[in-house]
Protein backbone atom coordinates (compact mmCIF):
# COMPACT_ATOMS: atom_id res chain seq x y z
CA UNK A 1 0.00 0.00 0.00
CA UNK A 2 1.31 3.43 -0.97
CA UNK A 3 2.23 5.78 1.86
CA UNK A 4 -0.03 8.82 2.27
CA UNK A 5 2.90 11.27 2.12
CA UNK A 6 4.12 9.69 -1.14
CA UNK A 7 0.59 9.83 -2.55
CA UNK A 8 0.40 13.61 -2.20
CA UNK A 9 3.06 14.27 -4.82
CA UNK A 10 1.84 11.38 -6.98
CA UNK A 11 0.17 12.04 -10.31
CA UNK A 12 -3.60 11.91 -9.92
CA UNK A 13 -3.78 10.55 -13.48
CA UNK A 14 -1.55 7.60 -12.62
CA UNK A 15 -3.14 6.79 -9.25
CA UNK A 16 -5.57 3.92 -8.86
CA UNK A 17 -8.99 4.36 -7.27
CA UNK A 18 -7.97 3.34 -3.75
CA UNK A 19 -4.88 5.54 -3.70
CA UNK A 20 -6.96 8.51 -4.88
CA UNK A 21 -9.52 7.88 -2.14
CA UNK A 22 -6.83 7.59 0.55
CA UNK A 23 -4.86 10.59 -0.70
CA UNK A 24 -7.77 13.01 -1.05
CA UNK A 25 -8.50 12.97 2.69
CA UNK A 26 -6.28 13.53 5.73
CA UNK A 27 -3.60 11.00 6.56
CA UNK A 28 -4.99 7.87 8.19
CA UNK A 29 -8.55 9.20 8.29
CA UNK A 30 -10.05 7.02 5.56
CA UNK A 31 -12.47 4.22 6.44
CA UNK A 32 -13.64 2.15 3.50
CA UNK A 33 -17.28 1.05 3.10
CA UNK A 34 -17.81 -2.36 1.58
CA UNK A 35 -14.14 -2.83 0.69
CA UNK A 36 -12.47 -5.83 -0.97
CA UNK A 37 -12.30 -7.74 2.34
CA UNK A 38 -16.12 -7.69 2.42
CA UNK A 39 -16.09 -9.59 -0.87
CA UNK A 40 -19.04 -8.10 -2.70
CA UNK A 41 -18.36 -8.75 -6.39
CA UNK A 42 -20.96 -8.33 -9.12
CA UNK A 43 -23.44 -11.24 -9.08
CA UNK A 44 -23.85 -10.93 -12.87
CA UNK A 45 -20.33 -10.83 -14.33
CA UNK A 46 -19.28 -14.23 -13.01
CA UNK A 47 -22.32 -15.92 -14.57
CA UNK A 48 -21.37 -14.37 -17.90
CA UNK A 49 -17.80 -15.64 -17.52
CA UNK A 50 -16.28 -12.18 -17.07
CA UNK A 51 -13.71 -11.26 -14.45
CA UNK A 52 -15.02 -9.96 -11.14
CA UNK A 53 -13.53 -7.59 -8.56
CA UNK A 54 -14.32 -7.74 -4.85
CA UNK A 55 -15.09 -4.00 -4.65
CA UNK A 56 -16.93 -4.06 -8.02
CA UNK A 57 -14.69 -1.33 -9.41
CA UNK A 58 -15.39 1.45 -6.93
CA UNK A 59 -13.88 2.53 -3.63
CA UNK A 60 -16.31 4.20 -1.23
CA UNK A 61 -15.73 5.45 2.27
CA UNK A 62 -15.38 8.40 4.59
CA UNK A 63 -12.44 10.45 5.80
CA UNK A 64 -11.68 13.95 6.98
CA UNK A 65 -10.14 17.10 5.59
CA UNK A 66 -9.47 19.25 8.63
CA UNK A 67 -12.77 19.22 10.52
CA UNK A 68 -14.91 18.34 7.52
CA UNK A 69 -16.18 14.77 7.11
CA UNK A 70 -15.52 13.87 3.46
CA UNK A 71 -17.50 11.03 1.88
CA UNK A 72 -15.39 9.71 -0.99
CA UNK A 73 -16.39 7.76 -4.09
CA UNK A 74 -13.53 6.72 -6.38
CA UNK A 75 -13.98 4.69 -9.55
CA UNK A 76 -11.39 2.29 -10.95
CA UNK A 77 -11.09 2.70 -14.71
CA UNK A 78 -8.93 -0.38 -15.18
CA UNK A 79 -11.83 -2.63 -14.14
CA UNK A 80 -14.26 -2.74 -17.13
CA UNK A 81 -13.61 0.93 -17.83
CA UNK A 82 -15.04 1.98 -14.47
CA UNK A 83 -18.50 1.07 -15.71
CA UNK A 84 -21.44 1.19 -13.30
CA UNK A 85 -23.15 -2.10 -12.47
CA UNK A 86 -25.50 -3.15 -9.68
CA UNK A 87 -23.13 -3.40 -6.69
CA UNK A 88 -21.02 -0.48 -7.91
CA UNK A 89 -24.19 1.59 -8.28
CA UNK A 90 -25.53 0.65 -4.85
CA UNK A 91 -22.24 1.71 -3.28
CA UNK A 92 -22.11 5.16 -4.90
CA UNK A 93 -25.81 5.91 -4.27
CA UNK A 94 -25.69 4.92 -0.62
CA UNK A 95 -22.51 6.87 0.06
CA UNK A 96 -24.35 10.10 -0.81
CA UNK A 97 -27.36 8.93 1.19
CA UNK A 98 -25.15 8.38 4.25
CA UNK A 99 -23.68 11.89 3.89
CA UNK A 100 -27.19 13.40 3.83
CA UNK A 101 -28.24 11.32 6.86
CA UNK A 102 -25.15 12.44 8.72
CA UNK A 103 -25.91 16.10 8.00
CA UNK A 104 -29.56 15.70 9.05
CA UNK A 105 -28.49 14.06 12.31
CA UNK A 106 -25.89 16.78 13.00
CA UNK A 107 -28.32 19.63 12.34
CA UNK A 108 -31.07 17.96 14.41
CA UNK A 109 -28.66 17.75 17.32
CA UNK A 110 -27.12 21.20 16.88
CA UNK A 111 -28.83 23.64 14.46
CA UNK A 112 -25.77 25.93 14.69
CA UNK A 113 -23.30 23.33 13.43
CA UNK A 114 -20.44 25.29 11.78
CA UNK A 115 -20.15 24.90 7.97
CA UNK A 116 -16.68 23.36 8.29
CA UNK A 117 -18.09 20.51 10.40
CA UNK A 118 -20.76 19.59 7.85
CA UNK A 119 -20.08 16.67 5.51
CA UNK A 120 -19.27 16.92 1.81
CA UNK A 121 -19.22 14.29 -0.95
CA UNK A 122 -16.29 13.98 -3.35
CA UNK A 123 -16.70 11.76 -6.41
CA UNK A 124 -13.54 10.87 -8.34
CA UNK A 125 -14.86 9.80 -11.73
CA UNK A 126 -13.17 7.31 -14.03
CA UNK A 127 -15.95 5.78 -16.06
CA UNK A 128 -17.64 5.27 -19.38
CA UNK A 129 -21.08 5.11 -17.77
CA UNK A 130 -23.38 2.09 -17.66
CA UNK A 131 -21.90 -1.42 -17.54
CA UNK A 132 -23.62 -3.14 -20.45
CA UNK A 133 -23.50 -6.59 -18.79
CA UNK A 134 -25.96 -5.35 -16.16
CA UNK A 135 -27.34 -2.34 -17.96
CA UNK A 136 -30.75 -2.10 -16.27
CA UNK A 137 -29.21 -2.03 -12.80
CA UNK A 138 -26.53 0.37 -14.03
CA UNK A 139 -29.06 2.80 -15.51
CA UNK A 140 -31.19 2.60 -12.41
CA UNK A 141 -28.11 3.47 -10.35
CA UNK A 142 -27.58 6.58 -12.50
CA UNK A 143 -31.17 7.66 -11.82
CA UNK A 144 -30.91 6.89 -8.11
CA UNK A 145 -27.65 8.80 -7.88
CA UNK A 146 -29.17 11.86 -9.60
CA UNK A 147 -32.03 11.59 -7.11
CA UNK A 148 -29.56 11.64 -4.20
CA UNK A 149 -27.76 14.64 -5.72
CA UNK A 150 -31.07 16.51 -5.79
CA UNK A 151 -31.77 15.49 -2.19
CA UNK A 152 -28.31 16.68 -1.19
CA UNK A 153 -28.81 20.07 -2.87
CA UNK A 154 -28.70 22.92 -0.39
CA UNK A 155 -27.52 20.49 2.29
CA UNK A 156 -24.41 18.55 1.32
CA UNK A 157 -22.08 19.79 -1.45
CA UNK A 158 -21.46 17.04 -4.02
CA UNK A 159 -18.17 17.69 -5.80
CA UNK A 160 -16.96 15.99 -9.00
CA UNK A 161 -13.26 15.33 -9.42
CA UNK A 162 -12.08 14.34 -12.91
CA UNK A 163 -8.45 13.69 -13.76
CA UNK A 164 -8.12 9.97 -14.49
CA UNK A 165 -7.33 8.11 -17.68
CA UNK A 166 -10.78 6.99 -18.76
CA UNK A 167 -12.31 10.41 -18.09
CA UNK A 168 -16.01 10.76 -17.34
CA UNK A 169 -18.34 9.72 -20.14
CA UNK A 170 -21.72 8.25 -20.94
CA UNK A 171 -24.46 8.57 -18.36
CA UNK A 172 -21.88 9.51 -15.76
CA UNK A 173 -21.15 12.65 -17.82
CA UNK A 174 -24.73 13.71 -17.08
CA UNK A 175 -24.27 12.81 -13.42
CA UNK A 176 -21.12 14.95 -13.13
CA UNK A 177 -22.86 17.86 -14.86
CA UNK A 178 -25.69 17.64 -12.30
CA UNK A 179 -23.31 18.01 -9.35
CA UNK A 180 -22.52 21.20 -7.43
CA UNK A 181 -18.94 21.78 -8.54
CA UNK A 182 -16.48 20.13 -10.92
CA UNK A 183 -12.72 20.06 -10.38
CA UNK A 184 -10.50 18.81 -13.22
CA UNK A 185 -6.82 18.51 -14.09
CA UNK A 186 -5.75 19.16 -17.66
CA UNK A 187 -5.71 15.39 -18.29
CA UNK A 188 -9.35 15.06 -17.25
CA UNK A 189 -11.95 14.55 -19.96
CA UNK A 190 -15.68 15.04 -19.62
CA UNK A 191 -18.40 14.31 -22.13
CA UNK A 192 -21.50 12.33 -22.94
CA UNK A 193 -20.84 10.32 -26.08
CA UNK A 194 -17.23 9.14 -26.18
CA UNK A 195 -14.98 10.02 -29.15
CA UNK A 196 -15.00 6.50 -30.65
CA UNK A 197 -18.78 6.33 -30.52
CA UNK A 198 -19.17 9.70 -32.23
CA UNK A 199 -16.84 8.57 -35.01
CA UNK A 200 -18.69 5.28 -35.36
CA UNK A 201 -22.09 6.99 -35.63
CA UNK A 202 -21.23 10.17 -37.54
CA UNK A 203 -18.17 9.24 -39.59
CA UNK A 204 -14.52 10.18 -39.46
CA UNK A 205 -15.09 13.50 -41.25
CA UNK A 206 -17.26 14.59 -38.34
CA UNK A 207 -14.93 13.41 -35.58
CA UNK A 208 -11.60 11.62 -35.90
CA UNK A 209 -11.23 9.78 -32.60
CA UNK A 210 -7.60 8.83 -33.39
CA UNK A 211 -6.70 12.55 -33.34
CA UNK A 212 -5.77 12.91 -29.68
CA UNK A 213 -5.29 16.64 -30.01
CA UNK A 214 -8.85 16.99 -31.30
CA UNK A 215 -10.20 14.67 -28.59
CA UNK A 216 -8.57 16.73 -25.83
CA UNK A 217 -9.51 20.07 -27.41
CA UNK A 218 -13.12 18.90 -27.43
CA UNK A 219 -13.54 16.86 -24.24
CA UNK A 220 -10.45 17.93 -22.26
CA UNK A 221 -10.37 20.02 -19.13
CA UNK A 222 -8.86 23.17 -20.67
CA UNK A 223 -11.86 23.44 -22.99
CA UNK A 224 -14.28 22.59 -20.19
CA UNK A 225 -12.66 25.29 -18.04
CA UNK A 226 -13.04 27.98 -20.71
CA UNK A 227 -16.64 26.90 -21.42
CA UNK A 228 -17.55 26.91 -17.72
CA UNK A 229 -18.35 23.18 -17.78
CA UNK A 230 -15.78 22.73 -15.04
CA UNK A 231 -15.35 25.20 -12.20
CA UNK A 232 -11.73 24.67 -11.25
CA UNK A 233 -8.64 23.53 -13.11
CA UNK A 234 -5.83 22.16 -10.93
CA UNK A 235 -2.43 20.58 -11.48
CA UNK A 236 -2.16 16.84 -11.90
CA UNK A 237 -1.29 15.78 -8.37
CA UNK A 238 -3.29 14.26 -5.55
CA UNK A 239 -2.23 17.21 -3.35
CA UNK A 240 -3.54 19.79 -5.85
CA UNK A 241 -6.97 18.14 -6.01
CA UNK A 242 -6.97 17.79 -2.24
CA UNK A 243 -6.11 21.48 -1.76
CA UNK A 244 -8.99 22.53 -4.03
CA UNK A 245 -11.41 20.27 -2.13
CA UNK A 246 -10.14 21.69 1.17
CA UNK A 247 -10.95 25.21 -0.10
CA UNK A 248 -14.46 24.11 -1.08
CA UNK A 249 -15.09 22.12 2.12
CA UNK A 250 -15.35 25.21 4.31
CA UNK A 251 -17.65 27.24 2.02
CA UNK A 252 -21.25 27.89 3.07
CA UNK A 253 -23.60 25.59 1.16
CA UNK A 254 -25.30 28.58 -0.50
CA UNK A 255 -22.07 29.38 -2.36
CA UNK A 256 -22.40 26.20 -4.41
CA UNK A 257 -25.60 27.36 -6.15
CA UNK A 258 -23.63 29.75 -8.37
CA UNK A 259 -21.27 26.94 -9.40
CA UNK A 260 -24.04 24.62 -10.61
CA UNK A 261 -24.70 23.97 -14.31
CA UNK A 262 -28.33 22.92 -14.01
CA UNK A 263 -31.29 23.36 -11.71
CA UNK A 264 -32.27 27.03 -11.98
CA UNK A 265 -33.89 29.37 -14.48
CA UNK A 266 -30.62 31.30 -14.75
CA UNK A 267 -28.75 28.07 -15.59
CA UNK A 268 -31.31 27.22 -18.29
CA UNK A 269 -31.00 30.73 -19.77
CA UNK A 270 -27.23 30.37 -19.83
CA UNK A 271 -27.43 27.02 -21.63
CA UNK A 272 -29.87 28.48 -24.19
CA UNK A 273 -27.52 31.42 -24.76
CA UNK A 274 -24.71 28.93 -25.43
CA UNK A 275 -26.86 27.13 -28.01
CA UNK A 276 -27.64 30.47 -29.68
CA UNK A 277 -23.93 31.30 -29.69
CA UNK A 278 -23.11 27.94 -31.31
CA UNK A 279 -25.64 28.65 -34.08
CA UNK A 280 -24.23 32.14 -34.61
CA UNK A 281 -20.54 31.16 -34.49
CA UNK A 282 -20.78 27.82 -36.37
CA UNK A 283 -17.44 26.82 -34.78
CA UNK A 284 -15.38 24.21 -36.65
CA UNK A 285 -13.12 23.60 -33.67
CA UNK A 286 -13.17 24.40 -29.97
CA UNK A 287 -10.38 26.94 -30.57
CA UNK A 288 -12.89 29.06 -32.54
CA UNK A 289 -14.90 29.37 -29.33
CA UNK A 290 -11.75 30.13 -27.32
CA UNK A 291 -11.01 32.99 -29.73
CA UNK A 292 -14.57 34.26 -29.34
CA UNK A 293 -14.09 34.19 -25.56
CA UNK A 294 -11.26 36.68 -25.99
CA UNK A 295 -8.24 34.42 -26.24
CA UNK A 296 -6.08 35.99 -28.95
CA UNK A 297 -3.77 33.02 -29.62
CA UNK A 298 -5.93 29.99 -28.79
CA UNK A 299 -3.59 27.41 -30.35
CA UNK A 300 -0.66 28.62 -28.24
CA UNK A 301 -2.84 28.75 -25.17
CA UNK A 302 -3.87 25.16 -25.81
CA UNK A 303 -0.20 24.09 -25.71
CA UNK A 304 0.66 26.27 -22.72
CA UNK A 305 1.72 24.63 -19.44
CA UNK A 306 -0.68 24.86 -16.49
CA UNK A 307 0.56 28.09 -14.86
CA UNK A 308 0.63 30.01 -18.12
CA UNK A 309 -2.79 28.69 -19.15
CA UNK A 310 -4.41 29.63 -15.84
CA UNK A 311 -2.83 33.11 -15.92
CA UNK A 312 -3.88 33.86 -19.51
CA UNK A 313 -7.10 31.94 -20.23
CA UNK A 314 -10.20 34.05 -20.76
CA UNK A 315 -13.35 32.12 -19.85
CA UNK A 316 -16.41 32.34 -22.06
CA UNK A 317 -19.00 34.78 -20.75
CA UNK A 318 -22.58 34.34 -21.94
Amino acid sequence: MTKWTDLQSASFLESNARDRALGLVDEGSFTEFCGPMDRRPSPHLGVLGDAVEYDDGVVTGVGRIGETPVFVISQEGRFIGGAVGEVHGAKIVNTVRLAIEMLDAMVAKNPDTPEAHKPIVVFSFETGGVRLHEANAGLLAHAEFMDQVQKARGKVPVIAVIGSKVGCFGGMGFVAAAMDAIVMSEFGRLGLTGPEVIEQEMGREEFDSSDRGLVFRTTGAKHKYIMGDCNFLVKDSVAAFRAQIADLAVLPIADFEAMRRIGSEAAVDKQLALVALAVELQPKDSLDVWAHAGNEAPAELNDAPYEEFIAKAQRLAV
Binding site: G35, M37, L48, D50, A51, V52, E53, F79
Partner: protein, 105 residues
Amino acid sequence: MALNQLNFSIENASPTVALGEAFHLGVVGSGDLEMIIESKEQGGAVSFQILSPVTGFDDLWKRVADAFVRESGLGNAHIEINDNNATPAVVMLRLRQALAEATAR
Protein backbone atom coordinates in the same frame (compact mmCIF):
# COMPACT_ATOMS: atom_id res chain seq x y z
CA MET B 1 -19.57 -19.73 -19.72
CA ALA B 2 -19.38 -19.05 -16.02
CA LEU B 3 -16.10 -18.09 -14.43
CA ASN B 4 -13.64 -20.92 -13.95
CA GLN B 5 -13.13 -21.56 -10.24
CA LEU B 6 -10.06 -23.39 -9.06
CA ASN B 7 -9.42 -24.60 -5.52
CA PHE B 8 -6.25 -26.39 -4.50
CA SER B 9 -3.64 -26.51 -1.76
CA ILE B 10 0.13 -26.59 -1.91
CA GLU B 11 1.65 -28.50 1.01
CA ASN B 12 4.53 -26.95 2.92
CA ALA B 13 5.89 -29.20 5.67
CA SER B 14 8.31 -26.59 7.03
CA PRO B 15 7.04 -23.04 6.53
CA THR B 16 9.58 -20.28 7.15
CA VAL B 17 7.28 -17.30 6.55
CA ALA B 18 3.98 -16.54 8.29
CA LEU B 19 1.46 -13.77 7.68
CA GLY B 20 0.02 -11.12 9.92
CA GLU B 21 -3.34 -9.55 9.18
CA ALA B 22 -5.15 -10.13 5.90
CA PHE B 23 -3.93 -8.02 2.99
CA HIS B 24 -5.50 -6.96 -0.31
CA LEU B 25 -3.56 -6.00 -3.41
CA GLY B 26 -4.16 -5.21 -7.05
CA VAL B 27 -6.78 -4.18 -9.56
CA VAL B 28 -8.63 -6.57 -11.87
CA GLY B 29 -7.49 -4.73 -14.99
CA SER B 30 -7.01 -6.51 -18.29
CA GLY B 31 -4.07 -8.90 -17.95
CA ASP B 32 -3.92 -8.26 -14.23
CA LEU B 33 -5.50 -9.55 -11.01
CA GLU B 34 -6.36 -8.75 -7.42
CA MET B 35 -5.65 -10.98 -4.46
CA ILE B 36 -6.42 -11.30 -0.78
CA ILE B 37 -3.70 -13.02 1.19
CA GLU B 38 -4.43 -14.07 4.77
CA SER B 39 -3.09 -16.43 7.39
CA LYS B 40 -4.91 -19.71 7.92
CA GLU B 41 -3.74 -22.51 10.19
CA GLN B 42 -3.83 -25.66 8.05
CA GLY B 43 -0.78 -27.80 8.85
CA GLY B 44 1.61 -25.67 6.81
CA ALA B 45 -0.37 -25.75 3.56
CA VAL B 46 -1.16 -22.72 1.40
CA SER B 47 -4.66 -22.93 -0.09
CA PHE B 48 -5.61 -21.11 -3.28
CA GLN B 49 -8.99 -20.03 -4.61
CA ILE B 50 -8.80 -18.68 -8.14
CA LEU B 51 -11.60 -17.16 -10.23
CA SER B 52 -10.61 -16.71 -13.85
CA PRO B 53 -12.31 -16.25 -17.22
CA VAL B 54 -9.61 -18.52 -18.68
CA THR B 55 -10.10 -22.29 -18.88
CA GLY B 56 -7.65 -25.06 -19.67
CA PHE B 57 -4.68 -23.79 -17.67
CA ASP B 58 -5.44 -25.42 -14.30
CA ASP B 59 -2.13 -27.26 -14.27
CA LEU B 60 -0.18 -24.10 -15.04
CA TRP B 61 -1.85 -22.26 -12.13
CA LYS B 62 -0.77 -25.07 -9.81
CA ARG B 63 2.80 -24.96 -11.09
CA VAL B 64 3.04 -21.19 -10.55
CA ALA B 65 1.52 -21.54 -7.06
CA ASP B 66 3.87 -24.40 -6.24
CA ALA B 67 6.92 -22.45 -7.43
CA PHE B 68 5.83 -19.45 -5.33
CA VAL B 69 5.32 -21.49 -2.15
CA ARG B 70 8.67 -23.26 -2.53
CA GLU B 71 10.51 -20.01 -3.33
CA SER B 72 8.95 -17.96 -0.53
CA GLY B 73 8.68 -20.56 2.25
CA LEU B 74 5.17 -19.26 2.96
CA GLY B 75 2.93 -21.56 4.98
CA ASN B 76 -0.43 -21.60 6.75
CA ALA B 77 -1.99 -19.12 4.36
CA HIS B 78 -5.04 -18.72 2.17
CA ILE B 79 -4.81 -16.81 -1.10
CA GLU B 80 -7.84 -15.69 -3.13
CA ILE B 81 -7.25 -14.45 -6.65
CA ASN B 82 -9.71 -12.69 -8.97
CA ASP B 83 -7.94 -13.00 -12.29
CA ASN B 84 -8.51 -11.20 -15.57
CA ASN B 85 -6.29 -13.05 -18.05
CA ALA B 86 -2.99 -12.42 -16.26
CA THR B 87 0.02 -14.29 -17.67
CA PRO B 88 1.99 -16.63 -15.36
CA ALA B 89 4.75 -14.01 -15.08
CA VAL B 90 2.28 -11.38 -13.88
CA VAL B 91 0.72 -13.86 -11.42
CA MET B 92 4.15 -14.62 -9.97
CA LEU B 93 5.00 -10.91 -9.77
CA ARG B 94 1.77 -10.11 -7.91
CA LEU B 95 2.23 -13.04 -5.51
CA ARG B 96 5.75 -11.84 -4.63
CA GLN B 97 4.53 -8.25 -4.34
CA ALA B 98 1.62 -9.23 -2.06
CA LEU B 99 3.88 -11.24 0.22
CA ALA B 100 6.51 -8.48 0.36
CA GLU B 101 3.89 -5.85 1.25
CA ALA B 102 1.97 -8.11 3.65
CA THR B 103 5.10 -9.03 5.63
CA ALA B 104 6.46 -5.45 5.59
CA ARG B 105 3.46 -4.16 7.56
